[in-house]
Symmetry: C2
Amino acid sequence: MHDTLGKEQIYVAVDLLILTEHAARLKLLLSRRPQEPFSGRWALPGRFVGMDESAETSAQLLLMEMLGTQKLYMEQLYTFTDIHRDPRGRVISIAYLVVVPWKEMDPLIREHAEGYQLCDVETGRELLRITDLDGREMQEADFAFDHERIVRTGIQRIQGKLNYTPIGFAFLNDPEGFSLSEVQEIHEAILGYALDPSNFRRQMLKQYEESGTLSQTEKTEIRRRGRPAALYQWKDRRQTQWQTENS
Amino acid sequence: MHDTLGKEQIYVAVDLLILTEHAARLKLLLSRRPQEPFSGRWALPGRFVGMDESAETSAQLLLMEMLGTQKLYMEQLYTFTDIHRDPRGRVISIAYLVVVPWKEMDPLIREHAEGYQLCDVETGRELLRITDLDGREMQEADFAFDHERIVRTGIQRIQGKLNYTPIGFAFLNDPEGFSLSEVQEIHEAILGYALDPSNFRRQMLKQYEESGTLSQTEKTEIRRRGRPAALYQWKDRRQTQWQTENS
DNA sequence: CCAAAAGTGTTGGTCGTACACCCATGC
DNA sequence: GCATGGGTGTACGACCAACACTTTTGG
């Protein structure tokens, strides 16, 4: 459909920065482009916006295609409009940041998103290293289009948001409950440095327990070693799925 | 040029939320649309993005047309893509937030931006009231397109940014120097409530004096009543004009 | 001298950080 | 008992809001 683009119009696309976390590692969904332009380079999942879709809808449809679900945290990240970002023609991209709990991602990626890899993201202050499943590090030139810039923008965004929003909880599955150290592991993976467990716990409880969104359950975690952790629950009154531009 | 739009493509426009401050009041540049659609309703300045322009460039060109300058603080606000936001056809809008010092705005608006009004914005916790020069309050239905939503989004954004960025200083002219109470007046106008002068001063100095971006000059203000204020200077190392998507 | 605005000092509470210490489990 | 991870207590410093107080000007 879009192998060749007309020269007289601007095309609008959406690109998804899909993040998840597993084993203390932040992960990012990328694929090698199978065709030109940028054949063989790493790219975010993307899609042209149809005439009868808003960008949000388009992004949700792509998410549905890839992962078979749309009940995920999603927020608009930034709109990239450089003239030469796509050699085929004039294409602007509205990028969205999506957070997927690992337990949902793991089965979903096998079924639907063939050709995609969950690459490792190693962050830190002044550091961003992305490596594929074979441990090979990617440079900016290994990315298609301006996707490296989109990734950097998104990682920075989510790092900033950890401090004053509960976005970290979007990495977890509600129904079963979770321990606070799991949440801490997620925060550490995103920030790239360790946090003090006791202070982290207090911070979370103070920020979110009073409003009732975070509450302890009766259950405790089953572990091999150490004291079992109390399990918590996240109750999202309002805005369960994705955010508006406010916040 | 764009009175009628084709039905088979998506058009890309930029809209500008141009803010300034005077006499303890936040002000916003709006005009009544002279033609359909939404004839007579209030609208932000906007422009279709040309094939050879990035959205940033397009916004800068519009700013140049209107105010004759492009050395202003500008940041991308949000991209609005609802299907029916423009009855002429499919138009998405990338909104930009622009901050203009009053001393530049005052002469510029007379020369260039005919037909525009600097409307008053009254803010507060859970409050947003916009009134035209005759003091008439605008409702959501008085705005064209989704521009009321854009305005709300922008006001919320700048309110949030006051806390952790020096965006308030963008409302002031560098060369002459300014007193900290002028800065405070700007913050109060944006937030919609009063701040403690002594605490405000300490906050500003702690945040920005150490890095050298805010420094006291030798001069003092000339006032009618009261003790003259020390004048300060803003030295913007890096990013004088407009920001990237980072931060 | 008085009013007005600039600017400093003080105080009490809150919050973040570091770290010592206790608790509950598997082995 | 001991190692391991969960969870609490505490002490210190930074920070913030409130407000009393001093300083410098115009009238």
